[in-house]
């Protein structure tokens, strides 16, 4: 696989005003893949993107593009193009002129430019919009123009910096599907930056989870979701109950006062570990049949399921169930071996996973990128 690596970041470090933004990032990106940098605001994902684009030079480390070191090469000489967070369309040019911007700089003959512009308008479903003024377009349409403008110059890599952040939920879902389709039909590399885990899971071939300037985990969406490496990843991607456990032996773990069968191996005997159980993987059963029992402290209707907070020996678990439960009732919980995921202890142990302070508002405040003022709450 090494031979089709298009971008290779080696030991990239960046500091602003003495504050370390990126700490020795190592990452290679394969040609044609849809890779997503996922993390909370300030994790360094946009900084990494700007380094690839050439707007920012790393203090340390090499940026390799197609086998050649491109540190110091200015943005206009790089074969990568960017979709900016707020589109950055030229207000003095109409739709067609915006799309033609890069082509004119390439000194392409006019008839070829016109053909390419038409082709791009068709690609993003904006046929007939060529003469429209940028300001007369909706947010979604402006986004499409930005995509067409960047793709018109045939980049090898397209960088997308939270491109759907300013769109409403419905439009965002449609655009996710469309972007993925465009990427597959053109076969070029997309590097996508987002703080929205659902967006990352549904679009990406590879997800790079980042936090405080470091890569926490690289993997496919299913890997990241099912086999999170540490408590940060488990918490950031989806909802997780993360409890302290002791690995008794291979395939046997003890937590919350009960010994469970699991599928994980390769830990030391009696090693302290973090145990992750996803809320949707817990079955609610009568108390007599439960491996664990607890008291329901709150129930919220979420449409598809109920979100039930259960107090088990002082630790609050979140469970998602399609059956309603009532506050104050005692219920039993059944956890199958494949529902349990074991992680090594990390610097994040103990900081996530308890739902005692849980509320939608809290989730939003901690997750949503502060830079996106038009953001609405949607990621449950």
């Amino acid at each position: 696989m090494e031979n089709n690596v298009i971008i290779d970041l080696k030991n990239i470090s960046v500091a602003f005003d003495g504050e370390q933004i990126l700490k020795s990032i190592n990452l290679y990106i394969r040609d044609g893949e849809f890779i997503t940098f996922l993390g909370p605001s300030g994790c360094g994902k946009t900084t990494t993107l700007r380094i690839v684009a050439g707007f920012l030079e790393p203090d340390d480390g090499d940026v390799i593009f197609d086998g050649k070191k491109i540190n110091g090469v200015p943005p206009h000489k790089r074969k990568v193009n960017t979709i900016f967070q707020r589109y950055a369309l030229f207000p003095h040019l109409n739709v067609a002129e915006n799309i033609a911007f890069g082509l004119k700089l390439k000194k392409m003959p006019k008839d070829k430019i016109d053909k390419k512009v038409e082709e791009m308008l068709a690609l993003v479903n904006l046929k007939g919009f060529g003469n429209r003024n940028i300001n007369s377009l909706s947010g979604g349409q402006q986004q499409r123009v930005a995509i067409a403008r960047a793709l018109a110059v045939d980049p090898k890599v397209l960088l997308l910096d939270e491109p759907l952040g300013a769109l409403d939920l419905k439009l965002r879902k449609d655009m996710q599907v469309e972007l993925k389709k465009i990427q597959q039909s053109l076969g070029i590399t997309f590097i996508y930056v987002t703080h929205d885990q659902e967006e990352a899971l549904s679009m990406s071939d590879t997800i790079v989870v980042m936090d405080s300037g470091k890569i926490q985990q690289i993997g496919t969406p299913t890997d990241i979701y099912n086999e999170p490496k540490n408590a940060f990843v488990a918490d950031f991607i989806g909802e997780s109950n993360i409890v302290d456990g002791i690995m008794k032996e291979d395939r046997v773990v003890e937590f919350s006062g009960h010994v469970f069968d699991c599928l994980d191996t390769g830990f030391g005997k009696n090693e302290a570990v973090d145990v992750v159980v996803r809320p949707e993987d817990v079955d609610v059963v009568p108390v007599s049949q439960g491996m664990l029992t607890g008291t329901v402290t709150s129930v919220t209707f979420k449409g598809v399921h109920y979100e039930i907070i259960v107090d088990i020996g002082g630790f609050l678990w979140m469970i998602q169930s399609t059956d309603i439960q009532y506050e104050g009732s005692e219920i039993g919980l059944l956890i199958e071996p494949d529902a349990i995921h074991i992680m090594k202890k990390s610097e994040y142990s103990g900081t996530f996973g308890d739902f005692s302070s849980y509320s939608d508002e809290f989730d939003e405040l901690s997750d949503v990128n502060a830079g996106l003022d038009t953001e609405d709450s949607d990621d449950e």
Binding site: P74, N94, F101, G102, L105, K106, V153
Partner: protein
């Protein structure tokens, strides 16, 4: 809330503005038009308009000097405004202050001070003279004042801030991500300027030109003080007819000349606004 109430309220809120406009703009303009088309006895006449033809060379001179001053202002102001907009916030603040500073002084005082700099025994010539005398030479002094160059200099000096500030404002309003997008799409520094910065600063250039051209074409103080009264501009003519400096008081001729000036300015403004609108919708490419 009914529609009638809304309209009524709106009318009430703009009342101070409308009455101001009526008293200080509409009435004087109506008076100018009235005098322009009446004789000294008060009857209707077109005779006053003949004087426009008589004074055509004065008008062309005024236009020429105003154009020259405006062009020089633009050439000086754009680089100043551009480097200001790229500088640190502290420098931007200080530079704006320095540019505004002369405006705190009276226009007449500022213009008179140029006399003391330019005249035969003024600052520049005396300095040169003392340099020459060091080497035992004789120096008569350059003729720096009482010519058209001095008039244009006075215009440029007095009106330059009105060119710098609107251009500077339009430049600072350009979103940095647009410049990044331009670089991203393949523009080097020159193309970023030509294809993004320059077209997006056109509104600033337009208002700058308007704000320099209009006072330049109608000035009468600058030509009198720095031109030595040799080169009469249309503003001087109008002043003369109203105040009788050259012995004749004739409101009617003065009003007719004022009207021409008004028409000239209106045409220029209309042309500018049209150009501005053009630039906003599709312009760019043609610049």
């Amino acid at each position: 809330m009914s529609k009638a109430v809304t309209i009524g309220n709106k009318k009430a809120t703009v009342a101070p503005f409308s009455s101001w406009m009526v008293v200080f703009v509409l009435v004087p303009m109506a008076l100018v038009v009235y005098y322009a088309f009446t004789s000294s006895e008060g009857g209707f006449t077109l005779d006053n308009l003949k004087w426009i033809y008589t004074y055509r060379s004065t008008m062309f001179l005024s236009l020429r000097l105003a154009f020259t001053a405006t062009a020089i202002c633009l050439l000086l102001a754009y680089p100043i405004a551009y480097s200001m907009s790229r500088a640190s916030e502290k420098i931007q603040r200080n530079a704006t202050l320095i540019i505004m500073l002369p405006m705190w002084m009276n226009f007449l005082v500022r213009t008179y001070s140029w006399m003391t700099i330019l005249e035969n025994n003024g600052l520049i010539n005396s300095a040169l003279r003392s340099v020459f005398s060091l080497f035992g030479g004789e120096f008569d002094g350059f003729q720096l004042i009482n010519n058209r160059g001095a008039i244009v200099l006075g215009m440029v000096y007095n009106f330059l801030p009105y060119m710098i500030l609107p251009i500077y404002t339009s430049l600072t309003k350009i979103d940095n991500s647009l410049l990044e997008a331009a670089r991203d799409l393949g523009s080097d520094g020159f193309n970023v300027f030509r294809r993004v910065i320059l077209p997006l600063s056109v509104p600033g250039i337009i208002s700058g030109i308007t704000m320099v051209f209009i006072p330049s074409i109608s000035t009468f103080i600058i030509s009198r003080i720095l031109g030595g009264g040799k080169d009469f501009l249309i503003g001087d003519l109008i002043e003369d007819y109203f105040l009788g400096n050259s012995g004749v008081v004739n409101y009617n001729i003065g009003a007719a000349l004022s009207m021409v000036l008004m028409v000239l300015i209106l045409v220029a403004t209309f042309f500018m606004n049209h150009f501005d609108k053009d630039a906003k919708t599709s312009g760019g490419g043609r610049i």
